[in-house]
Subunit: 339 residues, 2 copies
């Protein structure tokens, strides 16, 4: 049976939400896998005791240390060997578990995953992607969103190849398509490294590793032109953070606009409240909860990285994500294609 | 008296909107300057004849050719020497006019400006910025937005210096502030060229050329942390196009959300229409009209570049922009600071 390690100490709402999410995943799936919850016993056990776990496939393992959001990624790995993060990943490395899930310090998880699990043979640089809403069905993934800056053309191509495999098998997207984010659509646009990446992506397309549609531009992200948008981590990180700031920005603009309508008598109080709700609903596509998190693609093991604000629903979805990655042999397929 | 050349052939709404905007600028300002309208006489003269121009300080000059949106920038300059674009810029070069304004083919205008006017002594690379709305008063300018990719650290510093001068004098912003767009706030973050740019920006800050606040991130753009955001043209261009796609994207989401409320009886038809209007009003800050256009900073002359969709109001504002640049000696100040 599949064993998924869940970091009880990871996230702003840990360990409460993590415990809830883990139990919910097991109940919902009918104990399709086993969960090994890892964390500080004094904090986690009292929460577990609140549940009837007689029919829930969960185990607990004590880890005396915890990595916090304030820990510096590179040092946390070395100074907190007894943390749930490092110990949890080691369980995967030693094949005592199949996957690791955490909503903790993202930088520390990436550093620890790389340090403990290493890279899949053939992978130059592991990468992290992000979700974007789009017009129409489905979603767009942007890769890389900050794990790698100063990307070389061959890195960008591997990001596209790895994410294509993930989307095709784990996310069950029928025909993942790849766009190269650039300043114009025509071939030959942009900086030198993108011109070279364009050629390499064409090659990967000819070898049937990806479905490359060519250069795309900033407006094609929400436009949903491709399921995969490839770019350097600086560009992706900037777009990601810019995108995350939109709901707050628009809310700040909406409030005075609605108040003016109410005060001038053009809109009554109730209708304004109702319309306000509709606006909030519009931002639902920006809600990362439903996806849960992202795998750290390219490390030799499964490490799912969640948002610090992850709810129990997000944790549950991350657990399913881990399950799909194991079942669909995503890492084995990456090794086949990239090595 | 100041002479501003206005390209009657530039823009999707040319020459109609251009003629309107030029006349409106003269009427509103009380003929504070002279406008030299340049374009194809068979198209422009019939429009001018519809107005009583006895008290309007406008002249017309025929240019047999016109650069279109479809023309390839680099070749248009060479093959269309008799266009309003090239002839208009030459009038500035030969000191027969003080500034040039166009809402035509942006790439062609940049190429022609650089070719005809050359660079201000000391300027490594002329640049184009864009406007972004922000929470609170004022605006944010992002530089560069596509004129330069593969930027070197010293290019970024010059962009910040030139835009600081423009904002301080022509846009009359009291204390322009500069942020370096990066993946994190801490010094030492990001790719090598940004680490070096950080140091050079600190130096420029110590020399009182700019007010550098440090690294900023994607969410700080709409957050309005600084009045100037500096980045490579690939990053800026992507953010610009992404930003421009937001209104369309949200409208696509809003429609079904409002319809669902109306159909379920939670909101009546009128209130929905009203709320929809409020919502459209929210995008008003994304409206480039009120700013009009941007100067091509760093060329040895004044060349104001407008959006293809420019209305007469935008044209008028671009003319004022040109006037401010001349009056406030923006290019002379750039030469002083950068050489």
């Amino acid at each position: 049976m599949l064993t998924i390690v869940v970091d009880a100490m990871g996230g702003d709402n840990a360990p409460g939400c993590v415990v809830e999410g883990a139990i919910e995943a097991l109940r919902e799936s009918g104990n399709r896998f086993e969960i090994l919850l890892i964390g500080q016993e004094q904090k986690v056990l009292p929460l577990l005791e609140q549940h009837d776990l007689s029919n829930v496939n969960i185990r607990f393992m004590h880890a005396p240390e915890a990595v916090t959001m304030e820990d510096i990624p590179a040092t946390a790995v070395k100074t907190k060997q007894e943390s749930s993060l490092v110990k949890g990943l080691q369980l995967c490395k030693t094949k005592q578990a199949h996957a690791f899930v955490s909503a903790g310090n993202t930088g520390a998880q990436m550093a620890a995953s790389l340090f403990v699990l290493g890279r899949i043979p053939g992978v130059l640089r592991p990468t992290i992607y992000a979700y974007f809403p789009r017009i129409g069905e489905g979603l767009t993934n942007i890769v890389d969103v900050g794990a790698n800056v100063d990307c070389k053309p061959e890195h960008l191509v591997q990001f596209a190849e790895m994410l294509t495999i993930y989307q095709r098998y784990a996310a069950r997207i029928e025909n993942p398509t790849v766009g190269l984010l650039n300043i114009g659509e025509e071939e030959g646009k942009g900086p030198e490294y993108l011109k070279q990446a364009y050629k390499l992506l064409q090659e990967a397309h000819r070898e049937d590793k990806i479905n490359f549609v060519g250069n795309i531009e900033g407006h094609d992200i929400l436009g949903g032109k491709t399921t995969i948008v490839v770019c350097d981590g600086l560009v992706g990180n900037t777009i990601l953070k810019f995108g995350e700031s939109i709901p707050h920005f628009l809310s700040a603009l909406l409030k005075p606009a609605m108040e003016a309508l109410v005060q001038s008598g053009q809109l009554d109080q109730n209708a304004a409240a109702m319309a306000g709700k509709a606006f909030k609903g519009m931002f639902e596509p920006f809600d990362v909860e439903k996806w849960g998190g992202v795998p750290f693609l390219g490390v030799d093991g499964i490490s799912i990285v969640g948002h610090g604000r992850s709810s129990s629903r997000a944790i549950k979805n991350m657990i399913y994500m881990a399950e799909h990655m194991v079942e669909e042999r995503v890492n084995e397929r990456i090794a086949e294609v990239l090595s």
